[in-house]
């Protein structure tokens, strides 16, 4: 019993170390909302995703967006370059990661409130497949703002 208690105490302490107490979002962030397509609708390619944003400045010297297709975004407060951390072929000296590097991985930094997707990653051999687009806010220093990622799901008929 004592050993179990000790084990639990250690596990609790370690897991507490994996927790944080500041900058966490407990209420939903409604600053961004999708305009089209409708969530869980059926679409065809090319597909234009549109959204609107409130209380967030976008433009040169201000914020921007990062759009992720079928993949998770970088953690909060990290820049997009964080996603290239494990890619040995991507050297900062060569300007990597650049737009091309991101696009190859279905990541699209933008200051627009819409994005047209010409192609989507192939997910299965099925004729109809589900995809999701996630948009996160990026601050003027290129870091992800907050924890919220706004996601839209849709079905593509090939």
């Amino acid at each position: 019993m004592r050993r179990l208690a000790l084990l639990l105490a250690v596990a609790t302490t370690v897991s507490a170390a994996g927790c944080g107490f500041s900058g966490l979002a407990f209420r939903q962030d409604d600053r961004l909302s999708f305009i089209s397509p409708k969530d869980r609708s059926e679409v065809t390619l090319p597909l234009t995703v549109r959204w609107s944003v409130e209380d967030f400045d976008v433009g040169p010297g201000a914020g921007s967006f990062a759009v992720f297709v079928d993949r998770a975004p970088q953690p909060p407060a990290k820049t997009l370059a964080w996603l290239a951390r494990d890619d040995d072929s991507c050297r900062v000296d060569d300007g990597c990661p650049d737009e091309e590097w991101f696009a190859r991985r279905d990541i699209f930094p933008t200051t627009d409130t819409e994005l047209t997707l010409e192609r989507l990653p192939s997910r299965s051999d099925d004729r109809r497949e589900w995809h999701e687009v996630t948009v996160v806010l990026i601050d003027e220093r290129g870091r992800r703002v907050g924890e919220t990622g706004w996601t839209l799901e849709f079905q593509v008929a090939r």
């Binding site: 994996g18 927790c19 944080g20 979002a25 996160v136």
Partner: protein, 747 residues
């Protein structure tokens, strides 16, 4: 000389005595069955309210454990629904999340084992239930503060360990909190609470995330706080102890009959209870020897193929075939859970009535319900109408819901109360670990080949096989229940003998059955050895003599019957622990460690009982005094010794360990008469020093020359038990040995 008439009268008197004992035992057994809720008739079944109104029974344990059962599903449900949000917020991919979920599943599967071990000696299931409830509530709250993937991993694994323990704690606790007359209804009601949790969790998550605007973090914190309230509500839970309404009741019945009040009398002779209390693996092994448990574990594994991946594939089915999004899917599962509650309420009384008549009939009904459920699922996978899909899956879900209480009440009723957590753990492992894994692979394969509709139809296969297994277990339950009753009755008989100052034999084997796999080799064998006695166990080749020795020494475990040492049940005790009690076996053939030297062999014998070095050296010197040839070969490898020298070395084990009971298997086989003579002298000496000896021999002359008391075995049965001189007069038995011996010589 006894005349023929006197002998006949004596035989009749003995027969009358045996009949009286049998009648008394049958009456006690019938009384015990009734006390265990198996009355053979549905008449007179008390209402649940009446049961709960009995002295010492209260609604609270059901309420408290029911509430815990509701809140324990919160974290798991919230995580399954909110995984995408968590993934996006933490910036971790689906692969990492899948890995974390796999580890959590592993924790859920493994948690029951250590928790069962913690609850086996002392009845602290209530305490463990409360602690785990507070832990999983804290874990749910802390999930809301996780910022890193490994933090998520740890909280989920902790959640797996705490919620996984529910399986082994709650139902066994309910079994001991309520009398058998109401247990099916209590377990059904508990399952109903669980189903209510499955309705409540989606509603709460939907309310918190869509109406109240909480993120996944907020949802976990609020759910954790609600769970904490549930844990606080359970604080008054107390463990009623093991077997309050089962074994204690049977013992009370015996006492009432004997009008005894001997609670404080010595019960275990000279063996302390701690010395023979079964350990974790001994309990598990024992459970696996109970036919109903074994059959139902196979049934659980087959059911796991059906039940565990069913929900996941049903998600996909609703999504792909009918295009239902998360909201309607949540509603669908809440609908199923609501149907489950109705089904459990309906089953409670009906199941109780069946259990009263014959506990096997509960399994029979379960088999029918399972078969019906998979047929409904199969049809639901094919119908083109969504309303029909809802209704068919709803009906199937209701039928499947009653399987859990039916299984639980059947298995947990036929085993001693302190072993129930282990049985519950095994059921969970076979359902989730074995069946779930096979099921996931099976359904994935079917899905790839025939699509999601084909997966639903394919569930017919494990469902019907599972139903057949349940049906086949029907006839096993009553005998296993009687076996448990007999064990308690036997225990009480021993206790009564002890209390009355009666003398108990050193070793008593009663009704031993033993099987190698499906092949039964011992049939209802009885054997008794008194202190300091020398007993010969004779018989033809393959009669089961060596197997019986294995059962006594613990190398083999019987499928039925008991082995008692000084009145204490050691039937399922490990061989190593029996050695510490003073039971040592010298196996037949080369009972030595061949690659080790003679001196190392002797040391190895000594270390098994952890003797100190000086005492061990003195014992080894005694061996060398007794067998000077071993002293000459002390540094020689045992494998290079002659057959006789190897037997000397084997017999030295008795000189070192000084057992209370020595079991010797085929000492003289293949040895020269001179060597045999030396060995037999040593056996006589060991016996004269106070060690009881059971000597298995094929040589009738040797055995009967040594022992006063002899047993004769043939084809797995004891055919003679009496004085050696009387056996010498039984030509019909001994001829078989002599003929076999002659046959062997001629060959």
């Amino acid at each position: 000389m006894v005349s023929a008439d006197e002998h006949l009268a004596q035989v009749r008197e003995e027969e009358a005595l045996v009949a009286e004992v049998e009648r008394t035992r049958e009456e006690l057994r019938a009384d015990a069955r009734e006390r265990l809720g198996v009355t053979g008739s549905a008449e007179g079944m008390p209402s649940l309210r009446t049961v709960i109104a009995l002295p010492g029974v209260a609604m609270y344990p059901l309420f408290a454990l029911g509430v815990l059962s509701i809140v324990d599903s919160f974290q798991a449900y919230a995580f399954s629904v909110l995984t995408p949000e968590i993934s996006r917020a933490l910036g971790v991919g689906k692969g990492a999340i899948a890995g974390v979920i796999a580890l959590k599943t592993l924790a859920v599967s493994l948690a029951p084992l250590p928790v069962a071990a913690l609850a086996q000696r002392r009845a602290r299931r209530a305490l463990l239930s409360i602690i785990s409830a507070f832990l999983w509530s804290a874990v749910a709250i802390s999930t809301g503060f996780v910022t890193l993937i490994w933090g998520l991993l740890l909280v989920l694994v902790l959640d797996g360990f705490t919620t996984g323990s529910v399986e082994v704690l709650h139902r066994p606790l309910l079994m001991d909190s309520y009398p058998p007359q109401g247990r099916v209804r209590v377990l059904s009601a508990y399952q109903g609470f669980n189903a209510f949790g499955n309705v409540l969790a989606p509603l709460l998550v939907a309310l918190l995330s869509t109406q109240l605007g909480f993120t996944w973090r907020g949802v976990f914190v609020v759910l954790g706080l609600i769970s904490m309230v549930g844990a606080v509500l359970s604080l008054r839970l107390r463990d009623p102890g093991f077997g309050r309404w089962d074994t204690d009741q049977i013992r009370a019945a015996v006492h009432e009959r004997r009008a005894e009040d001997d609670e404080d009398e010595a019960r275990f002779g000279t063996v302390h209870p701690d010395e023979v209390a079964l350990g974790f693996f001994e309990i598990v092994r024992r459970l696996m020897l109970i036919p109903t448990v074994r059959r139902l574990l196979i049934g659980q594994a087959v059911l796991g193929i059906l039940l565990i991946p069913f929900q996941t594939f049903l998600f996909f089915f609703l999504d792909e075939r009918w295009g239902l999004g998360p909201g309607p899917r949540g509603l669908f599962f809440a609908f199923l859970a609501a149907i489950n509650i109705v089904a459990l309420v309906a089953f409670g009384r009906r199941g109780e009535s069946l259990f009263r008549r014959d506990p096997g009939r509960v399994l029979d009904l379960s088999a029918v319900l399972l078969a019906a459920a998979v047929v409904l699922i199969c049809i639901a996978g094919l119908v083109p109408n969504l309303v029909a899909v809802w209704l068919l899956f709803g009906a199937a879900s209701g039928l499947l819901a009653v399987l859990t209480p039916a299984f639980a009440v059947t298995v947990l009723s036929i085993i001693p109360a302190n072993m129930r957590p282990h049985a519950a753990a095994l059921l969970g492992i076979f359902l989730g670990g074995v069946g779930g894994l096979i099921g996931a692979l099976f359904l994935s394969g079917i899905d790839r080949r025939f699509g999601i509709g084909g997966s639903m139809v394919s569930l017919l296969v494990p469902g019907l096989i599972g139903a057949a297994i349940l049906r086949s277990a029907k006839g096993l339950v009553q005998p296993d229940l009687d076996r448990m009753i007999d064990e308690v009755l036997e225990d009480e008989e021993i206790r009564a003998i002890n209390a009355s100052g009666g003398r108990l034999p050193m070793l008593a084997c009663r009704g031993i059955d033993f099987s190698y796999g499906q092949l039964q080799v011992l049939f209802d064998c009885n054997l008794t050895v008194d202190d300091g006695e020398m007993v010969a166990l004779l018989g033809t080749n393959g009669a089961g003599k060596s197997t019986l020795l294995k059962v006594i020494s613990g190398i083999g475990l019987p499928t039925a019957g008991s082995v008692r040492f000084r009145g204490t049940d050691i039937t399922f005790l490990d061989a190593e622990r029996r050695l510490r009690l003073g039971i040592t076996q010298i196996p037949g053939g080369r009972a030595v460690f061949g690659p080790m030297t003679v001196i190392d062999n002797l040391r190895a014998f000594g270390t098994t009982v952890r003797r100190d070095r000086a005492a061990l050296d003195a014992s080894i010197d005694r061996c060398f005094d007794a067998f000077p040839r071993l002293a000459e070969r002390r540094n020689q490898l045992a494998s290079t010794l002659s057959g006789g020298e190897q037997q000397m070395l084997g017999l030295s084990k008795a000189l070192i360990l000084k057992p209370r009971l020595l079991l010797i298997d085929e000492l003289s086989l293949g040895l020269a008469p001179v060597i045999v003579g030396q060995l037999l002298d040593m056996v006589r000496q060991i016996n004269a020093d106070g060690t009881a000896v059971v000597l298995v021999e094929q040589s009738v002359n040797i055995a009967l020359g040594l022992a006063d008391h002899a047993y004769f075995m043939e084809k797995g049965e004891v055919r003679f038990d009496g004085r050696s001189t009387d056996l010498l007069a039984r030509d019909d038995l001994l001829r078989a040995v002599f003929l076999e011996g002659a046959g062997a010589r001629n060959r």
